[in-house]
């Protein structure tokens, strides 16, 4: 039966050492990009940071089936936390990442406790409202956040005490790619673990999970906190790499973009997050340089195409094509 409804693709648990594959492919891909586009490193770094952000969203949407439009909340908290630590305490980048992760995790925990008791439109609404609260708070608390002007002049100390961040952005790129590879490794391990299986169970049938004794709410909060920590890391990286944090880190459009990127690529298998982010960022870059607002035409049509034609995202395209070819041959 043709399922016209958008649903997340079936997730296969990884086998043997396959949990290393996403990390390795990213390192290989990034190395190639480094060589082919040596002067576009800041753009490439932004893509990598966004990939980390979208991968964290895949954990909650693709694995556990939790759909929010407020993922920017944890990203923004991570960004501000890292910025503040760098300005006031220590410019060590890894410390900034740690603090960003903690900030994201704490925000996820606080908001998750309320959010995850709800479903559907209410859940979406509350997730949006949380980011609005954070954005307004950041805007008002000038003494802490710099208000609408944000934090500037965030400097980062040498990575591991050895590698100074250079002007061309090489160290920043390698740094970000390493974090992405580490995050992917962690996520793959998590997906293949009993916890990951439980999340897929919750996405499949929360009522069945309750009937086998699973404290569903607690599990959801746990994955939300983990995803929040990773989103916080992405935000922290962004702050460190660009040297700025503004209230737009809490924008609703950022949360919406993350969802679009994930769905474009396909939720549930980390590759989708990577592919979707790459495509979105590249198309945006190209379209925006032609005409900034008409980029919305492109993304609008892309969304409609995905939803009407390719519900499982681009990663499902090879499978669809293969089936199509088999049928016509």
């Amino acid at each position: 039966m043709m399922d016209p409804v958008l649903s997340t693709s079936p997730r296969r648990a990884p086998t043997a050492l396959s949990f290393l594959i996403p990390s390795i492919s990213v390192v290989v891909g990034a190395s190639l990009a480094f060589l082919i586009f040596p002067y576009d490193l800041s753009f490439l770094t932004r893509i990598v940071i966004m990939m980390i952000f979208v991968v964290s969203f895949d954990l909650i949407l693709g694995q556990a089936g939790i759909a929010t439009l407020g993922h920017a909340a944890m990203y923004g908290c991570g960004a501000y936390a890292a910025g503040l630590i760098s300005l006031h305490l220590s410019p060590d980048p890894l410390l900034g990442l740690l603090v960003g992760a903690v900030a994201g995790a704490v925000m996820a925990w606080i908001s998750g406790l309320v959010l995850l008791r709800t479903h559907g439109i209410t859940l979406l609404m509350i997730s949006i409202a949380v980011t609005m609260v954070l954005q307004e708070t950041a805007s008002q608390a000038r003494w802490l956040t710099g208000g609408a002007d944000g934090l500037a002049g965030i400097t980062v100390g040498p990575l591991l005490g050895l590698y100074e961040f250079d002007f061309v952005g090489q160290v920043a790129f390698i740094y970000s790619v390493s974090i992405l590879a580490a995050v992917l490794l962690l996520c793959q391990v998590l997906i293949g673990s009993p916890f990951g299986l439980a999340l897929r169970g919750i996405e499949g049938s929360a009522s069945r999970m309750r009937a086998i004794g699973t404290p569903v709410y607690r599990r959801k909060v746990t994955v939300y906190v983990i995803a929040g920590a990773i989103a916080g890391i992405a935000g922290a990286l962004a702050a460190q790499v660009t040297g700025l944090v503004g209230i737009e880190v809490f924008n609703f459009s950022l949360s919406a973009d993350v969802m679009v990127m994930l769905i474009l690529g396909g939720a549930g298998r980390l590759y989708g997050a990577l592919v979707g982010t790459l495509l979105f960022m590249v198309v945006h870059h190209v379209a925006a340089s032609i005409d900034p607002l008409n980029w919305l035409f492109v993304i609008g049509f892309m969304l409609l195409i995905v939803v009407f034609v390719l519900p499982k995202g681009l990663v499902a395209l090879p499978g669809r094509l293969a089936r199509l070819l088999r049928r016509t041959s």
């Binding site: 079936p10 997730r11 648990a13 391990v189 998590l190 293949g192 673990s193 009993p194 916890f195 990951g196 299986l197 439980a198 897929r200 169970g201 499949g204 049938s205 009522s207 069945r208 999970m209 309750r210 009937a211 086998i212 004794g213 699973t214 404290p215 569903v216 599990r219």
Partner: protein
């Protein structure tokens, strides 16, 4: 009674509608009890009251001396009361193996081990294999449940609930929708259930009831009409009226 499930004065009403009236019964350890009654008698309501899906208006539910009436649904499962779903409720995108792995991992408390593979315990994998063998579903082991025939899904449903290893097992119409060529697997599986397990079978299929039950409770309009051995129930005048009509008694 400290061994088994004891229900005292369980009642439930929705506004003016009384769906469970002062139900009192026991399911001793090792018993095989069938719950029968016409449609709308309140059998599924009763089951939902036991599992915690519905909160009673009054009454007590005691399992092995512990009052479980205030526990949530998942807490009751952890305490030892599990039920199959009348309408199959499985993890459709997961394979049969994964469907069975989940309850075992949950039962063994291994879900928080982030850094081990879900299929990394040989004792669990062996248990899954045994379960599948008991219900003759090994050939389906690595197929997503979504693609299975309804009868096969019923078997997986039963296996999943058995994997919980409850103390009290409620089977909600286990044979419903299963073709007669396959229903004997279910009957065999029920007969092979652990001896110290209390089993409550909600069924319409009287043949199955007579094959596995040593006691039958007849529920009508939310109240217990009578309770007894299969022979006693069959001989009972009111029950015969109920099932065969007044003219046939």
């Amino acid at each position: 009674m400290n061994d088994g499930l004891s229900i005292v004065g369980l009642s439930k009403n929705f506004g003016g509608l009384q769906v469970a009236r002062d139900l009192t019964l026991t399911l001793p350890r090792g018993s095989r009890t069938a719950l029968i009654g016409p449609n709308g008698a309140g059998k599924t309501t009763f089951a939902n009251l036991l599992t915690g899906v519905l909160k009673p208006t009054s009454g007590k539910i005691v399992l092995n001396g512990q009052d479980i009436g205030s526990l949530s649904e998942s807490a009751r499962v952890r305490a030892g009361v599990a039920k199959t779903f009348q309408i199959t409720n499985l993890f459709r995108d997961l394979t049969v193996r994964e469907n069975l792995r989940l309850p075992i991992l949950e039962r063994e408390g291994r879900t928080h081990q982030f850094f081990r593979r879900a299929d990394g315990w040989s004792d669990i994998e062996a248990e899954i294999a045994r379960l599948m063998q008991d219900l003759n579903i090994q050939p389906l082991a690595d197929k997503p449940v979504r693609g299975l025939a309804y009868g096969q899904q019923r078997l997986v449903e039963l296996a999943l609930t058995l994997a919980v290893k409850p103390k009290v097992l409620i089977l909600d119409e286990p044979a419903a929708g299963v073709p007669s060529t396959e229903s004997h697997f279910i009957v065999e599986a029920i007969k092979r259930l652990p001896q110290d397990l209390s089993v409550l079978i909600i069924e319409h299929d009287m043949q199955l009831v007579f094959e596995v039950a040593d006691r039958i409770i007849v529920l009508v309009n939310g109240a217990i009409l009578m309770e007894g051995t299969p022979d006693e129930v069959v001989a009972n005048k009111q029950v015969r009226e109920l099932y065969l009509g007044a003219g046939h008694v």
